[in-house]
């Protein structure tokens, strides 16, 4: 359930550190601070949050600014995640870590655009992030 994007981000960061450049990853549409979900208690108090409950993303359409980080918090025991189809944030698909109850997952959006996402095992759960 790990993310190719995240892995590339890490490798990219290492590469950037090595060569001291900064421009190579400007094209990344998203970055993921941690590959695995974290406890909801670790979510900053002023964070942008999308709660997940009753088989729904509680904010079906969220508008943020470029560079903002969104935290998804699963409020129920049914596992959920955040996933993007091929071509939305990368050429391939992106599949976020599955979250148990009271776990959170963060994604930073680096580019403007509309990003439709869904829950991998529950494709009927859909929502979007609009980055301005």
């Amino acid at each position: 359930m790990n993310s190719a994007t995240t892995l590339r981000s890490i490798l990219g960061a290492l590469a950037l550190s090595a060569i001291g450049a900064t421009g190579a990853w400007a094209q990344e549409k998203i970055t993921v601070p941690t590959e695995e979900g974290v406890a909801a208690t670790e979510v900053p108090a002023d964070a942008i949050v999308v709660n997940i409950a009753k088989m729904k993303y509680q904010t079906p359409e969220l508008t943020i600014k470029t560079g903002d980080t969104v935290y998804w918090i699963n409020n129920e025991v049914m596992p959920h995640n955040v996933a993007f189809k091929k071509g939305v944030v990368d050429e391939g698909e992106f599949r976020g870590d599955m979250l148990g109850k009271d776990e959170a997952y963060a994604i930073t959006f680096n580019e403007a655009g509309t990003f439709d996402y869904f829950c991998t095992p529950h494709p009927f759960m859909r929502a979007k992030v609009i980055v301005e």
């Binding site: 996933a83 189809k85 091929k86 698909e93 869904f118 991998t120 494709p123 009927f124 859909r126």
Partner: protein, 457 residues
């Protein structure tokens, strides 16, 4: 698209040759029977062995290969005195006595009729699977086809072909995945088309639900379901032999074609979706909500593309019926398959393919038994027969054993097919009386799906 693959019937040749040898060895007891040296048109059982008397299997399509896979006690009525193996042995002995040479050939299956029945064996999620083609009138296996992982079988309403949507991997159960639609000639069982599906249009891998895939009513397109990453229906054009496109659909499941370009689906919100994909577009609309969240519709409704009747039971045996046309869905007044007393006594539907509908008689067949509420996938030992129009109980058939799936032939005097995944046996009953006529054993590892051609109208 690639045509055609290596023919599978080589094994038929082997089976035929093996049977011929076996028959010669076993056949001495019948060597006194009337010789019937007609290898191109084998004689009936009665002709080969007059002493056997009348038999349900007499007059069948007597090819040697079918006898090889038919069980020794299959295809026999209570008074029949001869098994398929004995019949084959007698024929071979008679041919030998008449000086006939053994000329092994690849056989063809008899022309499809309303009593041909296909048994799909998902084999408990094995990477490769098989389907058995059976003559329901005689209870004889007349052919087989191989499939990949959880293939979805399809049968044209006119009997002109059958098909499957299947999946294989480059290293059996790992490696590169290929999804494809395969069309078979109904007599040679040779693939006549092999149409590959693109990666982004992979199909839904799921326990085999009869109506998760379907043929359009003109038999020109295969419609298959995609669950992830989003609900969609793939269209495969059989006339052009190519994948057409993926239709975006709402959060809905199953596919019930009502015209060449219109089909219906059952949606999470409790409605049906009507999808029209004519002229390269996709128009979707929803009906009214027809059931509550507490009314759980089973995964195996019965549907007749010939008259558009959809028969959909709940876990409790409440049956919703719809008339689907190209224009709209009409809902009938729901009926109860089980009486109030039966429901109070823990009678509930259960099994796999639990529902059958006979179009000509307008009757519904439902697998039921006494069970806990959450044992809805356990087999059942009874079938209730219901007048679809009035809801009146016509019969309650005691099958006498655990049965997972049922279906009926669509001829005027239908057969009731009762399939046990546990014993890998198809039991063939008279649908009117419930009497068991014959059975076919050794149908793979966990046969679950029964499919017929509705071609007798």
């Amino acid at each position: 698209m690639a045509f055609p693959r290596e023919a599978t019937p080589k094994y038929l040749l082997l089976i035929g040759a093996t049977l011929a040898c076996s028959a010669l060895a076993l056949g001495t007891a019948f060597a006194q029977g009337t010789p019937t040296p007609q290898p191109e048109a084998p004689a009936t059982a009665a002709e080969a062995t007059p002493e056997a008397g009348a038999s349900d299997v007499a007059g069948g399509n007597g090819d040697a290969a079918s006898g090889a896979t038919a069980p020794e006690d299959a295809a026999t009525g209570p008074t029949a005195g001869q098994t398929e193996g004995q019949r084959g042995a007698a024929e071979a002995a008679a041919a030998l006595a008449a000086g006939e040479a053994d000329e092994p050939v690849i056989l063809t299956a008899p022309k499809p009729d309303a009593r041909r029945v296909y048994i799909q064996d998902p084999a408990h999620f094995a990477a490769v699977t098989q389907q058995y083609v059976i003559d329901g009138s005689t209870g004889r296996v007349i052919g087989m086809t191989d499939g990949g992982f959880l293939p979805q079988p399809l049968a044209s309403t006119d009997g002109s072909f059958f098909a499957q949507v299947s999946s294989v991997w480059s290293r059996i159960a790992r490696g590169d995945r290929t999804d494809y639609v395969e069309v078979f000639d109904p007599e040679t069982l040779q693939p006549t088309a092999d149409i590959e599906l693109p990666d982004e249009a992979f199909r839904f891998l799921v326990g085999t639900y009869q109506w998760m895939n379907a043929l359009t009513t003109d038999n020109k397109n295969v419609l298959y379901y995609q669950f992830s990453p989003a609900p969609a229906v793939g269209v495969v054009n059989l006339e052009e032999g190519k994948f057409d496109r993926l239709l975006e659909v709402p959060d809905c499941y199953h596919i019930f074609p009502a015209s060449p370009t219109v089909f219906y689906m059952n949606c999470r919100d409790g409605s049906l979706a009507r999808v029209d994909f004519a002229n390269g577009e996709t128009q979707v609309s929803n009906t009214e909500v027809f059931h509550t969240e507490e009314e759980l519709l089973i995964n195996h409704p019965a549907y007749s593309p010939q008259n558009g009747r959809l028969v959909w039971p709940t876990y409790t045996g409440k049956i919703f019926q719809m008339e689907l046309t190209a224009e709209a869905a009409t809902f009938r007044e729901p009926i109860e398959a089980l009486t109030e007393e039966e429901r109070a006594d823990n009678w509930r539907p259960g099994g796999w393919q639990q529902t059958a509908y006979h179009r000509q008689s307008d009757r519904i067949y439902l697998l039921v038994d006494q069970r806990d509420e959450w044992r809805h996938k356990a087999p059942s030992r009874f079938v209730v027969v219901i007048d679809a129009k009035t809801g009146e109980r016509i019969n309650k058939i005691a099958l006498g054993r655990d049965i997972d799936s049922i279906n009926v032939s669509q001829d005027a005097e239908p057969l009731l097919y009762a399939l046990s995944a546990g014993t890998q046996t198809l039991h063939i009953h008279d649908a009117e009386t419930g009497e068991e006529l014959r059975s076919v054993k050794q149908l793979g590892r966990g046969p679950q799906v029964i499919m017929t051609h509705d071609m007798d109208s």
